[in-house]
Structure formats: structure tokens, C-alpha cells
């Protein structure tokens, strides 16, 4: 019975992503969890929590990105806080569902908020460098273009999945002049660009970000050239990790979910993400506002404590 429900959950999740490719994976995960909550049959609050935890684990196995993990944890916290106020299960569940819907509505709007905040930092005639394909960065550039600003974009190819080419296509459709560069050409192109904007899969407690592999390199280069390095991320991507260096990032985030299950020796695999420390980041644009890396910890303490 349990396997059945979790299987349905995974299918629902995958369906969400298929129907709306533009939706953030964390939003899809939270939507699926809310649906799971509605259909859940447990009798006690503790049972409900256990089922939710298992559901989140199952989702993480499907899509091993940091965002799903952080979204799930935030949702779980939401639930635990509610359960303290209403001891009666059915009342509690109704309140939870209501709050879940509210939460979902709020975070669906967060990408728009980020876009509105960030596009003012793009000046007319700017040359922007970005990495791989990020829907938030796309939204920002979309907003800037709608504001009648003229700028050019350089995108890295971002191997091994060539996501950069996808991004270039999308930008081309918006009539923004775009050039695809090799991952190895970041140092070469850095002197030409005015600013660097990247997305994030997760924002960690120290104020650093976890993003597609190659981001760290770009950050180091931009620091060396004194170019501003901006990160755009929604607040549900804040996660309670604190990596000290690249090695410290847990393995379950570094590799894709199916590889984690099948491959024995992870040393032979290429990690999909890397960690950029906060000292290399100039500003973070979130729906909570424009933050410096040290302010991220303050916001996290507010969110989680």
C-alpha cells in the first residue's frame, strides 16, 4: 500500500515537470507533497509526519537536486510548526493544507519577484556572462529586455549536458543577442564582460551557492578580474548545509539520482555540481530582497528558528 502511494507521488511529480517545463523542480516537489498530504490516510500526526518524511526521501531519490531537498525540508518544517498549534488531526490537516496552498502560491510568485529586483542592475549596453541554463536568469533577462535595455549575453556551453545551448536558444527566441562560448573560454572572455549572473540550485548557510559544475571557476575568474558576480535564487532554495570545501558537499547532491543507484565507484564519475564560497559572491538576489552573502545566514536563522 505504501509503495503504491509513493509510486503515485513520483508519477505525479514527473507529470508536473512534463506538463510545465518552466516550473522550478522544488515547486513541483512541494505541489506533489501537498497532493500527497491531501490523499494521506494516517490516523495520527506522528504517522502523518513519518509518511511525509518517507515521501520526501522518495522524491529525493527521483531527482537528486539540492532544490528538491531544500523545498521538501521547508515543507516539513511548515507542517511541524502547524502540528504544535492544533492537536486534533482533522483540524490540523485542514490548516496544513490551507497553509500549504498559501506557501505554494507564495513561492510560485518568487521567480517574478527576483526578476523584478535584479533587472535594474543591468545597465544599457551591458555585456553579461552566465553559466548553463537557469530559468531564473532567463526571467531576469526577459524583464531587462522588456524594459528596453540593450545588452549582449555570453553563455557557456556547460558540458556534459550542453545545457548552455538550450539557454542560448531560449534567449534567441527573446531576440537577445547571444554567443555560446566554451567552458574553457571563461578566462578568455572575462575581460570583455561587465557582470556575471548565475542561478543556483541551492544556497547554503555560509552564503555560498551550489550550482552547475563550472560556476566556481567562473567565480574565481570574475574575482581576479574584479567583475561583480551576482547570484539569483528563490528563497526556497536556502538549505541547511554548511560545506567547508568541494569535498564537503554530500555525494547525494553531486551526482544524478540514477547514477547514485547504479554506479559502485563514484570516484570515476564526474560531479554535476560544485560549491562557490561566499567570499567570491558580490550579491544574492532573492525574493526576500537583495542580500550580501553574510545576510543569508540571518535569513536562514529567521526561516528555520
Amino acid at each position: 500500500m505504501e509503495k503504491d502511494t509513493t509510486q503515485k507521488l513520483v508519477e505525479y511529480f514527473r507529470a508536473q515537470i512534463r506538463e510545465d517545463p518552466d516550473v522550478a523542480s522544488a515547486v513541483a516537489a512541494i505541489r506533489s507533497l501537498l497532493e500527497f498530504l491531501k490523499r494521506d490516510q494516517s490516523e495520527t500526526i506522528l504517522g502523518l509526519r513519518e509518511n511525509m518524511t518517507k515521501a520526501i526521501q522518495r522524491l529525493e531519490e527521483t531527482d537528486s537536486s539540492v532544490a528538491v531537498s531544500s523545498g521538501g525540508e521547508l515543507f516539513l518544517r511548515f507542517i511541524s510548526l502547524t502540528s504544535l498549534e492544533h492537536p486534533d488531526l482533522s483540524q490540523c490537516k485542514n490548516v496544513m493544507i490551507e497553509r500549504g496552498e498559501l506557501f505554494l502560491k507564495k513561492i510560485s510568485l518568487s521567480r517574478g519577484k527576483v526578476g523584478k529586483l535584479c533587472h535594474t542592475f543591468i545597465k544599457d549596453g551591458a555585456k553579461i556572462l552566465t553559466h548553463s541554463s537557469s530559468r531564473v536568469v532567463l526571467k531576469v533577462l526577459e524583464n531587462a529586455a522588456a524594459d528596453n535595455k540593450r545588452f549582449t549575453v555570453y553563455v557557456t556551453e556547460s558540458q556534459p549536458d550542453s545545457a548552455g545551448k538550450l539557454m542560448a536558444q531560449k534567449l534567441h527566441n527573446l531576440n537577445i543577442p547571444v554567443t555560446v562560448v566554451l567552458d574553457a573560454a571563461v578566462g578568455y572572455i572575462m575581460e570583455k564582460v561587465d557582470l556575471v549572473i548565475v542561478g543556483a540550485e541551492g544556497v547554503v548557510e555560509s552564503g555560498g551557492v551550489i550550482n552547475k559544475i563550472g560556476t566556481y571557476q567562473m567565480a574565481v575568474c570574475s574575482k581576479a578580474h574584479n567583475k561583480p558576480f551576482y547570484v539569483v535564487a528563490e528563497s526556497f532554495k536556502f538549505v541547511r548545509l554548511y560545506p567547508l570545501n568541494q569535498q564537503d558537499v554530500p555525494d547525494r547532491f553531486k551526482y544524478k539520482a540514477d547514477i547514485l543507484k547504479t554506479v559502485k565507484d563514484l570516484n570515476q564519475e564526474h560531479p554535476m555540481i560544485d560549491y562557490t564560497p561566499p567570499s567570491l559572491i558580490t550579491l544574492l538576489f532573492t525574493d526576500l530582497g537583495v542580500l550580501t552573502p553574510s545576510a543569508v545566514s540571518d535569513e536562514l536563522i529567521k526561516l528555520y528558528l
Binding site: 548557510e205 555560509s206 552564503g207 541547511r240 554548511y242 567547508l244 570545501n245 569535498q247 564537503d248 561566499p278 567570499s279 553574510s294 545566514s297 540571518d298 536563522i301 528558528l305
Partner: protein, 533 residues
């Protein structure tokens, strides 16, 4: 023996002499002055000062001053801070009252009562403006006040200011705590700090048995000054246990409230302890907590019940803030220790040793490099504890740091205090280790309980520090001690610093009982804690 004073409160000359003699006798015997004796001393001193000032003044002013001294005997003892501030405003409000009703005694008393209330009000305002001379300058300014009080510099960083020294001497005399004198030539950059010698502890100047200061406090003071109890946590726990003993032996005098009198009783003890060794930030926070708990005791609470409550408070403070906190910190820290790690530690931090022992119990495979420095050589104690557990250790002196760092994967440091701007105050040498580790890109983790967070802000190690006994630096090798006669060489100064501050850029992570935070988030934690309280 107490003769009646005439209605104006003026004592006759002979009575005055007798009183003063009695008081001097009592002081010499080390007996605690009774409240009345203290009040009379205060009154005499005030009259003496006023007589000196107004020798040239018109006679009316004299009359007013003597009237001002009338409120003195009838004032309750708790208004002592406002007392010394009373003279100036009392003058102003008194003159009007005195001019209108010169001879009527009842009216005078009423006016004096009004003047007293006015003086209390103005003295409270005066404290805000920072203009009035307060009777006691606390060694640590209370930082948690919500009013915009002008912060006065703590006494222990103003040693080169003669006015501050005089104030301290007066305060210690009033509390009957011996004043400890500085020793030896001080390096000019640190001349604003105390430098004591271990060979002359303040306990030498106290008569045995001490009746003014509780004997367990005397013992604690000696243990601090001789370095028998060292280390932030150890000092705080010892202090709290001693306070438990003090509270146990305390009995409320008649007509006094426990909540106010006990706090006043503790002040001379704290002055004495800070004479033995300057208070640490953790001790300061503990004392603040105790004073708050004591003053929150409801007045209808019976003495035994109140004492029991206070003892329980102290026990729970030690349990929560120190013991359980170290368990929580170990839990977080163990996540950061992976198999195959080479961990560098400096000196002897009880918390870091605890973490490493716990990690070893959890079967983590790691080895430890203990870095040590003169003159304290605390690393040897840490080495002893770790080796006893069975952990593989290497021991180096701090001069070999850059040689050994390429092997190191993580650095674990303890802290004495965490300042509000994110700087870490710790044993001298810590900032050096953090600096070199940063240059080698080795992550630096600082472990600190939240009760050591303080609201002070410091960017360098000069402004507030501690100078230890300079004779510690004298080394005897092959029977020869070259620096033995360092005092005879006029241009030579020995500097034995105890603490230094590390900037937050060199610290990657702070592990506290609330979780893992970056160094810059200390003010957020302080804010959250204040909201909780």
C-alpha cells in the same frame, strides 16, 4: 555608645571623633562595618568635602548644606548610588525651599523629602547624560541596557589614567577589598592594562579568617591568580559553584530584602575576584545571569525557598549552557570530521578535546596535531588527554606551523569569547594559526558555546587584553636564567599577553549549540537570545 544627634543632624565634635575612632578600629580588625557605621562614614566624608569647598562661601550656603545632610541618616541604604549624586541637585532644590521656610522643622523635612525625590529623578537622568559622578564604576559596563547610556570604559583598561585609578581605589576601600599593585615595567603599548605578579596575590593582604569576603571566594581568588584554575569553562563553573556556597551560607539581615541585599553582598566578592584575575567574558555573562535571577526573587518568598530556587537556577545554568551545549556542539562537529582527516588543535580547549574524544568514540578515523606555545605550554595537557583516549597525536611548537600545515585538512579552535562584530577572542597565537591556515586554504572551525558571546566590539588585540606575569618568560636552561635580572635593564620590557583577536575573514565556520553559523552572524544570535530572555 550611640549618642543622640541634635535635630539638625549635626554631631558635636567629641561625638564625631569617637565615631571615627570606632570606625577606624572596626576597619582595622577587618570586621564588616555595620550599615550605620557606613552611613556615618559617608556623611562625615561628604561634610568634610563640603566644608572644604565652602570655606569661602556665604554662610547661607553652609546652612543649606547642613540641611542637606539631614536626609542622610533617614535615607534607606538602597539609595546609595543616587546618594552621592544627591548633593548637587539637592543644593538647587534646597535653596528655594530653605529660603521660604527657614525655621519650621516639619516643613524642612517635607522639603528635604521632595528634594530627595527630585535628586533621585535627576540622578537617573544624570546617568543618561553621563554628567554625574556615579558612586561605583563597575568593572564591566552593562551592555544589555536598552536606554542609550553613555558607556564608560571599564576600569581594567584605564590603568594609565590616574583619575580612574583613584576611583577604583576609593571603590575598593569602600568595599574593603585589598587593592593589588602592578608589577614591573610595562611595555608602553600595553601600559593601559594591569600587570600583576603571581608572587603577590591579593590574598596576602587579607587577614585570616576573612570576615568581609567569604572564605570560598578567597580560595577561588587564589586559585585564579595562581593559575590553578584556568580555561574559560573551568573558571565559570568554579565561580558558579562558589556562588552556590555563598548563597548557602548567606542569611538575610533584619529589615533587608534578599533580592537587593544579596546582590550588594556579591559586589565586593566580584571586585576581589577581578583583582585576582580580570574577569572573562563567560564569567561576566554568568554573573549577569545570577544578578538577574536574584533580583527577580519575589519579596514574599521565604529565605530557604529563595536560596533553594537560586541554587537550582545555578545548577540548570551550568547544565544547559555548558554541559548540554558541549554535547550539542559535539554532535554538529562530528558531522564535519570525516575518515582520514588530519586535525590541528591549538592549546588546551576543553570543548575541542571533548569533541575529539566523542568523535573517536564514534569510530571516526583521524589523527591530531597539537600545536603548543610558551610560556603556558597548555598543549601538553591536551596531548595527555587525547593520548589517554587512544587518539594518534603529533606535537609541535607554534614555530613549526607553516611546516606542518600542508598535511592538515582541518583546524579546530576553541574560543574565550565571540565578539559582536564577529571577531574571535582566544588564547594568544590563535589568530596566527588562523592566518597561516587561510594562506594554505585549510578550513578553520571555531567551537564556542553561546554563553560566551558578548556584545563588545574589538578590532585589535591592544585595546582590551590581559597581561600575565612577565616573570613567566624567564627560562632556566643548563642552570642559567639569562633574563633573571630583566628589571635592572631599564630599556627591557617583558610582555606576556594572554589573549588575541582573530578577524572573521579567517574563520570559515563557528559551531555553537544553536547550530553552525558563519562568524558574521553572531549579532543575530545575540538578538535571538535577547528576545528569548
Amino acid at each position: 555608645n550611640i549618642t543622640d544627634s541634635d535635630p539638625d543632624g549635626r554631631l558635636t565634635v567629641t561625638d564625631k571623633d569617637v565615631k571615627l575612632q570606632e570606625i577606624a578600629l572596626a576597619k582595622n580588625e577587618g570586621k564588616e562595618l555595620t550599615k550605620e557605621e557606613k552611613q556615618r562614614l559617608r556623611k562625615e566624608k561628604k561634610q568634610h568635602k563640603k566644608n572644604k569647598k565652602d570655606d569661602k562661601g556665604p554662610p547661607e550656603k553652609e546652612k543649606e548644606k547642613e540641611k542637606a545632610s539631614v536626609p542622610a541618616p533617614s535615607k534607606p541604604a538602597t539609595q546609595s548610588p543616587a546618594h552621592k549624586a544627591a548633593p548637587a541637585p539637592v543644593h538647587a532644590s534646597e535653596s528655594a525651599a530653605a529660603a521660604e521656610k527657614p525655621a519650621k522643622s516639619k516643613a524642612e523635612l517635607r522639603a528635604e523629602r521632595r528634594a530627595r525625590q527630585d535628586s533621585e529623578r535627576t540622578s537617573k537622568q544624570g546617568k543618561k547624560e553621563g554628567g554625574q559622578q556615579s558612586a561605583s564604576s563597575k568593572p564591566k559596563a552593562t551592555p544589555n541596557e536598552l536606554q542609550p547610556v553613555v558607556k564608560r570604559l571599564p576600569e581594567h583598561v584605564q590603568v594609565d589614567d590616574p583619575a580612574a585609578l583613584k576611583k577604583l581605589a576609593k571603590k575598593l576601600e569602600r568595599q574593603q577589598v585589598p587593592l593589588r599593585s602592578d608589577y614591573g615595567y610595562k611595555v608602553s603599548l600595553f601600559s593601559h592594562l594591569h600587570q600583576y605578579s603571581r608572587k603577590s596575590p591579593p590574598t596576602l593582604q587579607i587577614s585570616i579568617p576573612a570576615t568581609v569576603i567569604h572564605p570560598s571566594i578567597v580560595r577561588l581568588g587564589l586559585q585564579y591568580s595562581q593559575g590553578i584554575i584556568a580555561g574559560s569553562n573551568a573558571r565559570s563553573v568554579a565561580l558558579l559553584h562558589t556562588f552556590k556556597q555563598v548563597i548557602q551560607d548567606y542569611s538575610t539581615p533584619p529589615n533587608e530584602e534578599l533580592s537587593r541585599d544579596l546582590v550588594n553582598k556579591l559586589s565586593p566578592y566580584i571586585s576581589f575576584l577581578s583583582q585576582c584575575r580580570p574577569l572573562s567574558a563567560s564569567m561576566g555573562n554568568a554573573i549577569k545571569y545570577i544578578k538577574k535571577e536574584i533580583s527577580n526573587i519575589p519579596s514574599q518568598c521565604k529565605e530557604e525557598e529563595a536560596k533553594g530556587k537560586l541554587q537550582a537556577c545555578i545548577d540548570s545554568y551550568i547544565n544547559e549552557k555548558i554541559i548540554l551545549a558541549s554535547e550539542a556542539i559535539s554532535k554538529y562537529a562530528i558531522e564535519k570530521i570525516s575518515d582520514g582527516d588530519v586535525i590541528l588543535v591549538y592549546g588546551c580547549s576543553s570543548l575541542v578535546n571533548h569533541i575529539l574524544c566523542k568523535a573517536f568514540e564514534k569510530q571516526r578515523k583521524f589523527r591530531v596535531i597539537v600545536v603548543d606555545s610558551r610560556p603556558r605550554l597548555e598543549g601538553r595537557e591536551a596531548l595527555r588527554r587525547l593520548v589517554k583516549k587512544g587518539i594518534r597525536c603529533t606535537y609541535v611548537l607554534i614555530s613549526a606551523l607553516s611546516y606542518i600545515l600542508p598535511e592538515v585538512s582541518k583546524v579546530f579552535l576553541g574560543a574565550h569569547a565571540l565578539l559582536a562584530n564577529g571577531y574571535v577572542m582566544s588564547r594568544v597565537g590563535t589568530s596566527q594559526i588562523a592566518l597561516v591556515a587561510k594562506a594554505y586554504n585549510v578550513p578553520v572551525l571555531v567551537c564556542c558555546e553561546t554563553y560566551k558571546f558578548c556584545e563588545r566590539v574589538q578590532t585589535d588585540s591592544f585595546v582590551s587584553n590581559e597581561l600575565d606575569d612577565p616573570d613567566d618568560l624567564i627560562v632556566t636552561r643548563n642552570g642559567k636564567s639569562h633574563l633573571e635580572n630583566w628589571q635592572t635593564v631599564k630599556s627591557l620590557g617583558l610582555l606576556n599577553l594572554v589573549y588575541d583577536v582573530t578577524p572573521p575573514d579567517f574563520v570559515d565556520l563557528v559551531i555553537t549549540d544553536l547550530g553552525m553559523i558563519p562568524c558574521t552572524s553572531v549579532p543575530v544570535v545575540l538578538r535571538v537570545k535577547n528576545v528569548d530572555q
